[in-house]
Point group: C2
C-alpha cells in the first residue's frame, strides 16, 4: 500500500486526550469535543479530581463520546520497595477509576528509576503489571504497555521500543495486557513496521496515539507538535497500524505549553483540521 | 565479569574533546590537558579556525598529546541534491584537515533531513560514506559512524542504534569504516551489550565516548552530565567495550552550557576525578 495515497482517517475515529486541551475542565472538553464532531475521549486522571467518577462517565456518554481509555497507570519501577507497593496501590485505584468511569483500557507509562539499572526497572515493571492482571480482569479493564521514547529512559519508562513492549506483552500472556503505539515515541525506530505487524498478530494492538515531532523541539516533555507540523510519517504509520488489524480510535495526545496558552477552541479546530489532512 | 568490581580506567587512556572545554583555545586546552596528565585530545574543527593545521598538530604532539580524532564529518542527508554535494565537499575537506592534523579518525554525525523519510536519509548516508572511502583511504584516515540518540533523528542522524551503525559498517565493508560508541546516545538500548560484542568482532569499534545522562536533562543538546552525575552504567558499558577488544582512548565529550560557564581548569580537574572514579 502506498502511504501517500491512503484515504484520510474518518472523523468518527478521532479521539482527543483531555490533557491535549488541559486548560479545559472535563465538562468543557466534553461539550466542545462533541460540538466539533469528535466521538472519543481519553481521560487523564487529573481531569477527574473532585468529581463523582461514575457520574462523569455518564456525562461523557450522554455527550455522545466514547470513553477510549484512562491515562495513566504505571510507574512501577523504584529501587525503594515501599514506593513500589504504593505504585501498585495507585494502579489498583486507577483500575477502580476506569471501572467507574466506564473506560475499557488504562495506558501504562511503566516507569524507571535512575538509581538502579534499566534491567532492574524492567523486572519491576513486569512484576507490577503481572500483579495487577487479576484485578484488571475482574474489573473488565485492559492494560496497555506504552513504550516511551528513549529520552525518557531515566525516569519515565525503561520500556523504550515497541519490540520491548511486544516481548513483555507476550511474556505476560494475558487477554488483559496489550500495547499502546504512540508515534511520538516510536517514529524513529527502524523496526517499527515489523513490530507493529507483530503487535497486531498477537492481538496486542490496543491503542494508537498521534501528534508530531517538531524541529526544533524546545522542551523534552511539553513541546509536541500538531499533526503535520513535524517529520513523523503519520499516514505511513497509520497504514501499518491498520494493516495490522487496528480499527479503533485514533487518539490525539499533545503536551504543549505553547498550545495550552492559546484559545482552546481555536486549537481544537486546528486539531480536527490537522487530523483530517495529515492523519 | 562483574561490572562493579572492574578496575578503574587508567589516566593514560583519558582523552578530552576540545568542545568539552569550549571556552579554551586549542593552545590553552593543549597546555592544560597536558599539565593535568591527560594523554589524548579529540579536536573539533571549530578549534582549528584560522590556524595552520599541520603546525597545530605538531604543537599537540609536542605537548605530549595523541590526536585521537577529528570531530566531525557527516551530515550527508539532504533532500536537496546541491546540499548533498556540498556535504561531500565538506567531508573531503575534513579528510584533508585530519590528514594535516595527524588525526587517524574522523567521527561522522551522519545527518537527517526532516523534509524526507528516514529511509531516504539512511540511503544518502550510505552513499555519502561510500563515496568518501577512496579519499579517506588515500589520506590514511578512518571514518567512524556514530549512532546518535533517537531524540536527534529529525535533523542530526537517521542512524540511531548501534545495530544500525553495525549494519551500515558491515554493508560498506571497508577497513576505513567503523563505528564510534557514545554512551550518551546508546545507554538505553536493550541490545547494547550484544551489539558492542558484534562491533568488536567485526573490528569496527573505532572509538568510545563517555559522559553522563542527567536527571532532569534541561536541554536536548547542551546539558550533558559529568561522569557519575547521571544514570549511565559507565563501568558496565566500559567492560563490554573492553571485552569486545577495545583498548584505545576513552574520550570525554560533554556539551554543557552549565560547565562552559565555569572556570575551565576547575571543570577539567572534575573531569579527571570523575574519570578516575566513575569510568
Amino acid at each position: 500500500m502506498c502511504p501517500l495515497t491512503i484515504e484520510n482517517a474518518p472523523l468518527s475515529r478521532l479521539c482527543i486526550h483531555t490533557i491535549t486541551t488541559k486548560p479545559w475542565s472535563i465538562e468543557e472538553a466534553a461539550s466542545q469535543y462533541a460540538t466539533a464532531g469528535v466521538k472519543g475521549i481519553t481521560v487523564w486522571r487529573d481531569a477527574l479530581s473532585g468529581r463523582d467518577i461514575g457520574k462523569t462517565g455518564r456525562m461523557l456518554r450522554d455527550s455522545g463520546l466514547s470513553v477510549v481509555s484512562l491515562c495513566r497507570g504505571g510507574f512501577f519501577a523504584f529501587q525503594d520497595k515501599v514506593k513500589r507497593e504504593k505504585a501498585l496501590e495507585d494502579n489498583r485505584l486507577a483500575i477502580e477509576e476506569a471501572h467507574q468511569l466506564g473506560a475499557p483500557l488504562i495506558v501504562l507509562v511503566c516507569g524507571a528509576d535512575p538509581a538502579q539499572s534499566l534491567e532492574d526497572s524492567r523486572k519491576q515493571i513486569r512484576d507490577g503489571i503481572s500483579a495487577l492482571i487479576p484485578e484488571a480482569s475482574a474489573a473488565g479493564v485492559k492494560l496497555a504497555i506504552e513504550p516511551l521514547h528513549p529520552m525518557y529512559a531515566d525516569t519515565r519508562s525503561a520500556i523504550n521500543t515497541l519490540a520491548q513492549a511486544n516481548d513483555l506483552a507476550e511474556e505476560l500472556h494475558s487477554p488483559q495486557v496489550g500495547v499502546a503505539v504512540d508515534v511520538y515515541h516510536l517514529w524513529w525506530d527502524p523496526h517499527l513496521e515489523k513490530e507493529i505487524r507483530r503487535c497486531g498478530q498477537n492481538n496486542h494492538l490496543f491503542a494508537f496515539h498521534v501528534c508530531d515531532w517538531k524541529t526544533p523541539t524546545l522542551d523534552m516533555l511539553n513541546d509536541r507538535g500538531l499533526m503535520g507540523e513535524g517529520c513523523i510519517p503519520l499516514k505511513k504509520i497509520r497504514s501499518w497500524v491498520e494493516d495490522a488489524g487496528f480499527d479503533g480510535f485514533i487518539e490525539v495526545e499533545i503536551f504543549s505549553t505553547e498550545y495550552w496558552k492559546k484559545e482552546q477552541w481555536e486549537f481544537m479546530e486546528s486539531i480536527v483540521a490537522a487530523y483530517e489532512k495529515f492523519v
